[in-house]
């Protein structure tokens, strides 16, 4: 991942007012994690798994933070139970940022995640936007977070191959 693309993701988080983030690093998104961890305006919590990250973000929202989860497509599967509870029982907002490995155009052997990511989000009734152009990254992250906070539910932004690499 080029650092200028990672910077766009961080710029989007900043534009959105995100001040708290949790997640588990993903090889394809590692530059974003490193930048977020260093950013003085974002409290980053590295967790042992993505479900734990969802819980940490949930608690931080009650403390007045604007939380984001940084999840791999595999990590979304790990977080599913807690995200479903947060969305469908508690109705608490959370931005979920996912580098969309496995989308059409990804040459790696990750097609599994084409079959799980969008159907999984739909099953949890978590709205999402797929971003295919890097020029749309900042605006989309901001808009997804605005919707999350207005609707009191997690909203995901999926950044695919074309946008990120």
């Amino acid at each position: 991942m080029k650092s200028e693309k990672a910077q766009l993701v961080v710029n989007g988080l900043k534009e959105a007012g995100i001040d708290f983030a949790a997640g588990v690093p993903d090889a394809q998104f590692i530059e974003v994690y490193k930048m977020v961890e260093k950013d003085p305006g974002i409290r980053y919590v590295g967790t042992a798994n993505e479900a734990e990250a969802a819980g940490v973000g949930f608690g931080a929202w009650f403390g007045g933070k604007k939380p984001a989860l940084l999840l791999a497509t595999s990590g979304l599967l790990v977080a599913t139970y807690h995200l479903a509870r947060i969305n469908l029982l508690h109705e608490v907002p959370m931005l979920v940022v996912i580098p969309y490995r496995g989308d059409i155009g990804d040459p790696r052997w990750l097609g599994l995640y084409k079959k799980t990511t969008e159907p999984g989000l739909n099953a949890m009734d978590i709205p999402y936007r797929i971003v295919s152009r890097s020029a749309d990254i900042v605006r989309s992250i901001k808009e997804c977070n605005e919707s999350a906070r207005a609707w009191l539910k997690p909203v995901a932004v999926l950044l695919n191959e074309e946008a990120l690499w």
Partner: protein
């Protein structure tokens, strides 16, 4: 060995009104709701999510005491959180673990199925191994009172493992309705907004 209810009664007498309590699903939430009806309670936090939620809350509000009312089956579903707690080291976080060593025994007349702590797992030692040096175990009311008092008056993070009876045969009468998750969210978030001056709710523009 003591019962969950006897320790929760003790906790209800010890805890200041402004300590935020995050309680796990099941009898931790059900009994606490009967004993301590207050705005500072977040109930019904599901399996594997109680301590992580309390951690996020404690990090967001570093000057506010936060107490996780967790349980053995709940915590072991997401055990890695103890490592995160140790590394993040929030001074204002106390984890009280009700260790009854079984799943689903709490609503029954006989034990359900054993958790790992019914076997060889010792969660005090796990917490210490994760880096929570002061982790301890209590098995009676006086020890519980002393450890909770210490935890709420000194810097954490603290981990108190309470070995309790497997069955809750002394369950309290249900005189109060424990709020559902949505109602509880508005109550808890509204209380924090009011007492901390932070904006949590009301971020949308309305419309129609």
């Amino acid at each position: 060995m003591v019962t969950r209810l006897s320790l929760l009664k003790e906790l209800s007498a010890l805890i200041a009104d402004d300590v935020l309590v995050v309680s796990s699903i099941g009898n931790n939430s059900g009994f606490w709701g009967q004993l301590k009806d207050r705005e500072a309670n977040l109930f019904h936090v599901t399996m594997g999510m109680c301590t992580s939620t309390a951690l996020g809350l404690a990090l967001a509000l570093p000057n506010r005491k936060v107490l996780a009312l967790d349980a053995d089956g709940n915590l072991t579903l997401n055990l890695g959180v103890l490592g995160t707690v140790a590394n993040e080291a929030p001074k204002n976080l106390t984890i009280v673990l009700m260790d009854n060593r079984n799943y689903l025994g709490s609503n029954k007349k006989e034990p359900g199925m054993p958790t790992a702590t019914a076997g060889k797992m010792n969660l005090e030692e796990v917490a210490k191994g994760c880096g929570i040096a002061g982790a301890c175990t209590v098995e009676e009311v006086a020890g519980f009172r002393a450890e909770v008092h210490k935890a709420l008056s000194t810097d954490g993070p603290h981990f108190i493992r309470a070995r309790i009876e497997a069955l809750d045969n002394d369950r309290p009468p249900r005189n109060k309705r424990v709020p559902d998750p949505r109602e509880n969210k508005y109550q808890f978030a509204g209380y924090i907004q009011k007492t901390e001056g932070v904006e949590i709710l009301g971020s949308g523009l309305g419309g129609g």
